[in-house]
């Protein structure tokens, strides 16, 4: 899992926290995560992107990039992203988690909270800049592939989509493998799929996807 060849973005390190080697970023704690020497644990059990990095997927993140994060929720993952990335646009549509997102943004001067519907990018096309280096998506609604496709307009030609697909958001009755296949098919309208991996054991019935623009 953690080979020495592992490529972590600048600003993300493996640190010994509470006696274990764990992914960590530097910043103010957000949700009571364990910390040591100013580093805060990035728990792959609580973060799909954390799981994708932990599983060694080829995320392509190097640090200091411009990021569009779709489905920021209460800011658990996007706070870690803002710790190592540059300008980070955090889109969340639900009011309640957005409150916590605002708290996470307080101590992060390049975390830009936006209360917008990720299914309607035209409502934030006047705010989010063109050619972001990465789109990170973790939205738990139906039509996750459609969200990624519609937001492709923001991605730089050499940028990457890092997507966590939740099978049960699409169809609770269908087999996850079938749901993932349909989602990937729909993604291929705009993207070339580079890598996929199930996020077990960190997140059941989730598929991590890394893609670039076609």
């Amino acid at each position: 899992m953690s080979e020495t060849s592992e490529r972590l973005p600048a600003g993300v390190e493996r640190r010994s926290i509470e006696g274990r080697s764990r992914l960590a970023t530097r910043g103010e704690p957000v949700y009571g995560e364990p910390t040591a020497d100013g580093w805060r644990t990035w728990d792959p059990n609580r973060s799909k992107l954390g799981a994708m990095i932990e599983l060694g997927m080829d995320h392509g993140l190097v640090g200091d990039e411009t990021v569009l994060y779709l489905g920021a929720a209460a800011g658990t993952t996007v706070s870690h992203v803002a710790d190592f990335a540059g300008p980070t646009y955090a889109v969340e549509f639900a009011a309640r988690p957005a409150r916590d997102l605002l708290s996470a943004a307080e101590t992060r001067d390049r975390l830009i909270p936006l209360l917008k519907d990720a299914r309607r990018p035209e409502t934030y096309g006047h705010v989010v800049e063109a050619d972001v280096d990465a789109i990170i998506q973790d939205v738990a609604t139906r039509g996750q592939a459609a969200v990624a496709v519609r937001n492709a307009r923001f991605l730089a030609p050499d940028g990457r989509l890092l997507l966590a697909v939740k099978a049960r958001s699409e169809d609770v009755t269908d087999a996850p493998a079938a749901v993932f296949e349909r989602t990937l098919d729909r993604l291929r309208d705009r993207y070339e799929i580079r890598e996929t991996e199930r996020l077990d054991p960190y997140h059941e019935d989730h598929l991590g996807v890394i893609a670039t623009l076609r």
Binding site: L115, H126, E129, A130
Partner: protein, 297 residues
């Protein structure tokens, strides 16, 4: 950047178009603006003179986006108080109707079947029976309606438990979600509740007693719906007026914080706990006098 730097006012311009950098309208521009196609906004903003450099641009954007998000969050959550009012009234309707229909159904069932348990639990027993002829079918069906209504009451209660803390975090933390919802419903919304004096909040739900008092027919009521809370009910009768007054005072503050800021304020809850502890300590210091006083008034 090779893009057109003439950022004009139009449906597809940046959020900063035509804005004075110090303008509070920046939040409105974030909320209301739109553009199908994103562009290199940071560069365009610097070129147009809106920002000195891209660092300055991101500072301004973050400030405006934060204000916009905070404003929209508050507006959305306030709108939720309407749903809460409907839910709490519907919950009461369901409970009352469930009990009425259950009584009727179990009375009828008692005339048909051997055993005749009453109430909603009785209706559940009846609803589970296999009817054999027309009258039995009607009684069992009626019992099923009572059970459905009781289940709907529970669903509504769960909805209130989930929703009230986001509409009114402090009020819900202090009073519990259900009582918070009742106070909001009795006042007609969170905003009207936030604007009421604490003496009014103290007797919300005791309007009949209050009007009897105003007409000179009764003593002033000590409490309304807040009586259901432990702070009032489980304080000895002699001190209940003080407890109700203290509780209503803090509830009023909680409603105001919820309406105007929406942040959870821990110290508000600490203050109230201390105040109630002080009031209840009176009973300890007068223990001899209060021996034998029952919990009921």
């Amino acid at each position: 950047m090779s893009e057109d730097t003439d950022a004009t006012n139009g449906p597809d311009g940046g959020w900063f178009d035509g804005l004075d950098p110090e303008d509070d309208d920046a939040a409105a521009a974030i909320i209301e603006g739109r553009a199908e196609t994103p562009r290199g906004w940071p560069t365009l903003a610097v070129d147009s003179g809106f920002a000195d450099d891209t660092d300055d641009y991101y500072d301004r954007l973050r400030a405006a986006a934060t204000r916009a998000t905070r404003r929209t969050v508050r507006e959305r959550e306030r709108a939720d108080d309407r749903q809460l009012i409907h839910a709490v009234r519907a919950m009461d309707d369901c409970e009352r109707t469930a009990n009425e229909v259950a009584e009727r159904a179990t009375e009828w069932a008692g005339a048909i079947f051997d055993t005749a348990p009453t109430g909603v639990d009785g209706a559940r027993d009846v609803a589970a029976r296999e009817p054999n002829e027309a009258a039995e079918r009607r009684a069992v069906s009626l019992a099923t309606r009572a059970v459905d209504l009781a289940d709907e009451r529970d669903e509504l209660s769960a909805y209130i438990e989930r929703t009230a803390p986001s509409v009114a975090p402090n009020l819900s933390a202090m009073a519990g979600p259900e009582l918070a919802a009742r106070l909001i419903a009795l006042a007609g919304g969170l905003e009207p509740l936030a604007k009421k004096p604490s003496g009014t909040v103290q007797v919300l739900g005791a309007e009949d007693a209050l009007f009897a008092h105003l007409a000179g027919r009764a003593p002033s009521p000590k409490h309304g719906v807040i009586y259901t809370h432990d702070f009032v009910r489980n304080t000895r009768p002699a001190d209940r007026g003080s407890a109700a007054r203290a509780f209503a005072g803090k509830l009023t503050l909680a409603a105001r914080v919820d309406h105007y800021s929406g942040e959870l304020r821990a110290e508000l809850h600490e203050d109230l706990r201390e105040r109630i502890a002080t009031i209840r300590a009176r009973a300890d210091s007068e223990r001899a006098d209060t021996e034998g006083v029952s919990a009921d008034e």
